[in-house]
Point group: C2
Chain length 254, copies 2
């Protein structure tokens, strides 16, 4: 097989974004932990995610394929190569470390960090990455509860989690992950106190959403939101590191 030279040329911002999205979409909502259990991603999915027309995606996939970062078969979808996977994890690490840093060091709300991290992730040096990782105490999860790849680009093991919609009435647990980047949704979650680490209980599943209790409050969460809220059941062995959602000691080592 033709040994495609894995480019030394620094990748463009667009290229990094494509790789990151291929990883994210390919990992599915289940959060696969290795390249092996990653799915092929469709042109349309990428177009939607990156906010670009499908024709543009095709063009970029061809280029990434030539660079050996992606395995692309026309009409059949893409998946990352080992090299592309590395790059994607690196970008993801930058993104999530930045989110954690903005939250903990600069006082950003956990619902505000995504947008800023999105732009900065492509422009920080390895030195910067290392310094904020150290400042943070090498965290394993960002403020949304998403796992941060280690410096060696390994994804940390996360505790078993279930979507809120999958809990039965009466079950409760701690919010482990808020898996949306939609700003309105994030704002709403923040407003309701539904951030990683918060205790939440399912009261009942209604046709128009899921009725939950958070602290002493009761809310009706639309299905679309209950869908993206992941919960670790209490009593489960390990509930994870919630990215210092509020004034805990930021220097705690992982």
């Amino acid at each position: 097989m033709p040994e495609s030279t894995v480019s030394k040329t620094p990748l463009s911002e667009a290229q990094e974004d494509y790789l990151k999205q291929i990883l994210l979409l390919g990992s599915g909502a289940e959060g696969a932990g290795t390249l092996a259990d990653t799915l092929a991603v469709t042109t349309q999915n990428l177009a939607d995610e990156i906010q670009v027309k499908p024709a543009s995606v095709t063009g970029m996939l061809k280029k990434l394929s030539e660079l050996g970062l992606v395995e692309y078969e026309a009409y059949r979808g893409v998946r990352l190569t080992e090299a592309g996977y590395k790059v994607a994890l690196e970008v993801l690490r930058h993104h999530r470390l930045l989110e954690a840093y903005l939250h903990q060091a600069l006082g950003y709300g956990w619902e505000e960090v995504h947008a800023e991290a999105e732009r900065l992730e492509h422009h920080i040096s390895e030195a910067f990455e290392q310094r904020i990782a150290e400042w943070l105490g090498h965290p394993t999860h960002d403020p949304h509860g998403d796992a941060i790849p280690s410096a060696a680009l390994e994804l940390p093991q996360s505790a078993p989690q279930r979507r809120l919609v999958a809990l039965e009435a009466g079950e409760y647990g701690l919010v482990a992950r808020v898996a949306t980047q939609d700003q309105d949704s994030l704002n709403l979650f923040a407003h309701l106190g539904l951030k990683p680490g918060a205790r939440v209980e399912v009261l009942e599943h209604a046709p128009d959403g899921t009725r939950v209790r958070v602290g002493t409050e009761r809310y009706l969460l639309p299905a679309s939101l209950a869908q993206v809220l992941w919960v670790s059941l209490m009593g489960d062995s390990y509930v994870g590191d919630f990215g210092d959602a509020e004034g805990r000691n930021p220097k705690a080592k992982g």
Copy 2:
């Protein structure tokens, strides 16, 4: 005169860089404080500074001129318009705040901050700018001793300074500004302890440079370096804010 619509479109990184360099080159080494005492800048100067061919500069200047950010007359040079000046100051503020932040918050050496700030300056939000400015206590000078434009884009008054080459033998003062971005020069200055705030004395001007004393050490500084080192004479009223060159309290308000 045709009222050129001052674009609302966000500027590209390249455009911001051109504007910044026009400001820097136009301010001359004397550090002019307002747009009025700014000089016209030459195509060649810009080409050298931005590391681009003169033909490319011409093209960009035409575009900036159409955007109303610059007054450009073929063969005669450019200067910033009021609008362009504002943009340039904003970029400069980002750059210098970032330098200060990297130094004080993340432990970068003062000689290392330039390169990182150079990339980040185009990608931080106003919120980020504001948060680091606050964290720093609204500093007036960066770690190299360069003035940081205020949030209102005013350049702070700096103490009177003279180039080291202009001091007479026997005169001494505090390093106020290290006006180079050349990494090798910066490393050398750092190595010799010649950072803002350091005491330095001119021993004599030799044909091959300037002989100086720094603490108990004596060095021969090549003219090119003595040229970019600015000194505030001791006994002068105000010596400025040296950007917390070492462990002073980072939270001190300005």
